[in-house]
């Protein structure tokens, strides 16, 4: 086995879309990985070289104890939505990390940033990230800052998930003219790229643009997704002027804070940016795969069973306040558990998959009418796995003694129950397809 330059590495934001992949890849490369996560959730399969540190990057003490004993740090923690605490995580977090790294004499910092920092007009995400990048660039610590283009992979998350969803529409709305270049990079490739940086000794503070092998325009990328994911050859596009997009984003942000669209995204997808991906590829001998075959491969990874598992997870977790989307490991675990318990009779409820909001009504009605059906079993297994997540302890071990609290929760639950019960009854009356309860 080759000798590693930095045997022990800290990964901040390890629970994220890219983080989970980076941790997995580094472990296979033989690194000892310390995963810094915010939510106490089991993101990873247990591994002897994996250490979990739970904390908040905005708290200096948390990040300081995490940096102890590591030689390098990969900084992936960031908030991608225009939320009030974007500044706290993206800027304060970065400054905390620099401070902690200096005091524990780290030899290398890899800072994953975004090409949005190059935009002439930036949103909150771009502004906070570029402020963080400046802090890294001016620190006394050898830092490699990577400005990444769009990252794709399954299960789709973030910008890529929005693109997949949008490309499903009969007419695909596109902000601006959609002619600016992007260099989409697969999630596996970004993990490889980061590991490549760890192979070379650090030389001062440098910044690279990071992208995939093939450059395409946003419009081309969308039609490719639409082709690969939804089997559509000639999608129709509708160009939305930037100004109108911004107004729309403002309104949506006000109404639905977690809506898919926000100012940063509008700004990010409408302004052209100068990108030069070659220096990184040459310096680190990085050879990412081609876009189209990679995207097809990712699409093939979509697994109906996994989507079903995620649906039950979201349903059970949503009402007890656990982190919304399950980690890949949790989904894998759920699929494994379903197969283990249900054995041969394990069927995927395909109809429910396209109408996930029916899970509640169906759960309510089957619990009373068909308590031993597959749906009930699956939901109970999901509940067991969610309950053994530390994040659920906050709610399930909660001690609220006030009568007012009891009444409030009781009344809300009663309303939900009645609605679901009525809906479930109607469904049961209308549909007699057993497939639905599988």
């Amino acid at each position: 086995m080759k000798k590693l330059l930095y045997p022990k590495v800290l990964v901040t934001g390890a629970g994220g879309f890219i983080g989970q992949e980076v941790v997995r890849y580094l472990l296979t490369c033989g690194y000892h990985v310390k995963a810094f996560i915010h939510q106490p959730v089991s993101y990873f399969e247990p591994h002897p070289n994996l250490e979990i540190a739970i904390g908040d990057i905005a708290q200096l003490s948390d990040i300081s104890s995490a940096t102890k004993g590591v030689q390098a740090c990969i900084h992936l923690a960031a908030l991608k939505v225009d939320q009030a605490d974007s500044y706290l995580v993206n800027v304060r977090g970065a400054k905390n990390l620099i401070h902690a790294s200096l005091s524990h004499k780290l030899q290398l910092l890899i800072n994953l940033s975004t090409l949005s920092t190059k935009l002439p007009v930036k949103g909150v995400y771009g502004t906070t990230k570029s402020e963080a990048d400046q802090a890294f660039a001016s620190s006394k610590l050898p830092t490699v800052t990577l400005l990444s283009s769009i990252v794709y992979g399954e299960p789709a998350q973030g910008v890529f998930k929005d693109l997949v969803n949008v490309s499903r529409l009969p007419v695909i709305p596109i902000l601006g003219n959609g002619r600016q270049d992007v260099y989409p990079l697969s999630r596996t490739d970004i993990a490889v790229a980061i590991e490549k940086v760890l192979q070379l000794p650090a030389t001062g503070n440098v910044t690279y643009d990071l992208g995939g092998k093939d450059g395409v325009t946003l419009r081309e990328f969308l039609s490719l997704i639409s082709h690969v994911y939804h089997k559509r050859l000639h999608p129709l596009f509708l160009e939305i002027p930037v100004g109108m997009g911004l107004i729309l984003a403002r309104v949506l942000e006000f109404l639905l804070p977690n809506a898919g669209i926000n100012q940063s995204k509008v700004l990010g997808s409408t302004q052209p940016i100068e990108i030069d991906i070659k220096p990184f590829h040459q310096h680190f001998k990085f050879k990412p795969g081609s876009l189209q075959p990679n995207l097809k491969q990712e699409c093939r990874r979509i697994h109906l069973g996994k989507r079903e598992a995620a649906m039950y997870y979201l349903y059970v977790a949503s009402h007890i306040g656990v982190k919304a989307s399950p980690s890949e490991f949790q989904i894998k675990q759920l699929v494994q558990a379903f197969e283990l318990v249900l054995g041969k009779e394990y069927r995927i409820a395909t109809r429910l998959l396209s109408l996930p909001f029916l899970t509640g009504p169906l759960d309510t009605i089957t619990k009373l009418v068909i308590p031993k059906c597959g749906l009930q079993k699956k939901i109970q297994i999901t509940a067991a796995l969610i309950e053994t997540q530390p994040s659920s302890a906050k709610v399930l071990l909660q001690k609220n003694d006030s009568l007012r609290y009891l009444l409030r929760v009781g009344l809300t639950s009663a309303c939900i129950f009645i609605i679901w019960f009525v809906c479930g009854g109607i469904i049961l009356f209308l549909v007699k397809a057993e497939d639905t309860y599988a």
Partner: protein
């Protein structure tokens, strides 16, 4: 390894390790042939923390609760899963393929692990009355008393019992204290109905013994067993392993024992290797647990298709909601172990015993199927009323019945056990009435019984019968004398509950251990005389 051991003990459960102790002290050379597989639930790195700390910070806790291969989930939809007090059922039942059984409606728990079934016990102890010992077929309390005391001192039992020296009683939670206080001040209902309410005797330390630390009961979590406060047979096993004259031989399933004039041959099958192996000893003590002791002996005598008695206890669970504690702040440090016992006395024998558990240090998911609300709302509901919830584990005394049998059968070369159990419904109803009386008594105190769930027969893991104690050799297929010595083969002793003809509703492990201790002493004495 000596060619021939003085004594071979089969099984490392509560009976096996207790029988071994006096023999080791007598200086005999002992071998213990055992399945000895490691549990699927390995000692969790953070199990020294309390339930609450573990629940809120450990991202790998699922391994502890569900097993590394998630196999505990297999049992959430059947009867084993309904048992709420122990999480490691998976480690027990996974051996069913190696020890095949067919039954009509039983769910049998078996374990090839170190420490046997008692490794997953709830640590509740009690001492049998004279009448109960008589029904079981054991000597009177006068004889048993010193063996009880010896075991109690050895394993560390806390509680109160007239005539016995125990460690100080453990503190129970506020709900249990409250019930005790109310019933003691106005307890005429309970006295009239011959119901007694008491704090359980527990094999949990309130004073440290040797390396084992006494962790305060209110912090002791069922899952962690910090400082080995709760007794489990593997504690004795590891002590025994350090002795020179003790040899532990794990990885074998014993098939037969053959009594030759000067020695006994123990033929076993390797679990991993599948190769047969023969061990020799001057004398053998069978402590493989009632069912497997019967299996070994029936197979040794080639007694196929002949039925012998089989006993197990019927078993139900009732959940209660204690209105008084619904909105009352409570200490968060509670334990998953038994808090209170209510038992019904009938002619000096306990025929119904209900052990009460607080649900706060267990997981909710097992209760979900019983709540007629959609899952997320049911979880919310449980988190709201959880602290006021009580669960009682009701056990019924049972004796020998004609219909309840154990038979060894053979298909080609494969041997398997055929267990048949259909308890007399009139007696069952009679006993359930006692539970109703308990429920009514509690209802008067504002503790509402919510739901009673019947568990499959056999899920208590309390089994007996098969090899009854007889004063002289009768026409039974297998029987032992009062010293546990087999009438059919004089160098073979039985130290587990297969010699019992009755199962009182009380917890029985302490009595199994006291009896094993007695047999250990007897064998040691006889082996010495022979030498």
């Amino acid at each position: 390894m000596p060619n021939i051991f003085d004594v071979i003990i089969i099984g490392s459960g509560a009976a096996g390790v207790t029988a071994a102790t006096p023999l080791i002290e007598a200086g005999l050379s002992i071998a213990m042939v055992d399945g000895g597989t490691a549990p699927n639930f390995q000692q969790h790195p953070t199990s020294n923390t309390t339930f609450e700390e573990l629940r809120s910070s450990d991202t790998e806790q699922w391994q502890l609760f569900l097993g590394q291969d998630l196999s505990a989930l297999k049992y959430i939809h059947d009867s084993h899963g309904k048992q709420m007090t122990s999480g490691n059922k998976s480690f027990i039942v996974k051996h069913s393929q190696q020890l095949p059984i067919i039954t009509n409606n039983l769910e049998i728990l078996q374990s090839l692990g170190q420490g046997g079934l008692s490794q997953a016990w709830g640590a509740v102890c009690d001492i049998f009355t004279n009448q109960e010992l008589n029904l079981v077929g054991l000597p009177s309390l006068k004889t048993m008393k010193k063996h009880y005391q010896e075991v109690i001192t050895q394993i560390g039992v806390s509680g109160k019992k007239a005539g016995f020296k125990l460690q100080p009683t453990l503190k129970v939670n506020e709900q249990a204290e409250d019930i005790l206080r109310v019933t003691q001040s106005g307890g005429s209902y309970w006295r009239q109905n011959q119901l007694s309410i008491f704090k359980p005797m527990m094999a949990v330390l309130s004073k440290s013994i040797k390396k084992r630390r006494a962790v305060s009961y209110s912090e002791l979590e069922f899952w962690g067993n910090q400082g080995q406060t709760m007794y489990k047979p593997d504690i004795t096993l590891s002590e025994l392993k350090s002795k020179k004259n003790f040899k532990y031989l794990p990885g074998y399933i014993v098939q037969t024992v053959t009594d030759k004039p000067a020695q006994v041959l123990v033929s076993a099958q390797g679990i991993e290797t599948d190769t047969p192996k023969v061990f020799k000893a001057r004398c053998v003590i069978l402590a493989a647990g009632s069912i497997n002791t019967c299996r070994i002996l029936l197979s040794s005598f080639k007694a196929y298709d002949q039925s012998i008695p089989f006993i197990t206890k019927p078993h139900t669970l009732t959940s209660y909601l204690n209105l008084k504690f619904l909105l009352r702040p409570q200490s968060r440090r509670v334990t998953g172990l038994c808090q209170l016992v209510i038992s019904h006395l009938h002619k000096h024998t306990t025929d119904v015993s209900a052990q009460f558990y607080s649900y706060k240090s267990l997981l909710w998911y097992k209760l979900l199927p019983f709540i007629p609300l959609p899952t997320p709302l049911a979880l919310t509901f449980l988190s709201l009323v959880g602290q006021a919830l009580l669960v009682s584990d009701n056990r019924y005394a049972w004796g020998v019945e004609k219909n309840n049998t154990l038979t060894l059968r053979r298909r080609k070369t494969q041997e398997y056990l055929d267990l048949h159990y259909s308890p007399d419904p009139t007696r069952l109803n009679q006993l359930r009435n006692s539970i109703h009386r308990i429920q009514f008594g509690l209802l008067r105190m504002g503790i509402i019984p919510l739901k009673t769930v019947s568990l499959a027969h056999g899920s208590t893991a309390h089994y007996a019968g098969g090899i009854p104690v007889r004063e002289k050799k009768g026409d039974e297929l297998l029987s032992v004398n009062s010293q546990g010595q087999l009438w059919q083969a004089s160098n073979i002793y039985v130290a587990d509950s297969s010699t019992w003809s009755y199962l009182p509703a009380k917890p029985l492990t302490l009595t199994i251990m006291a009896n094993a201790n007695r047999i250990g002493h007897l064998v040691a004495k006889q082996a010495f005389q022979r030498k």
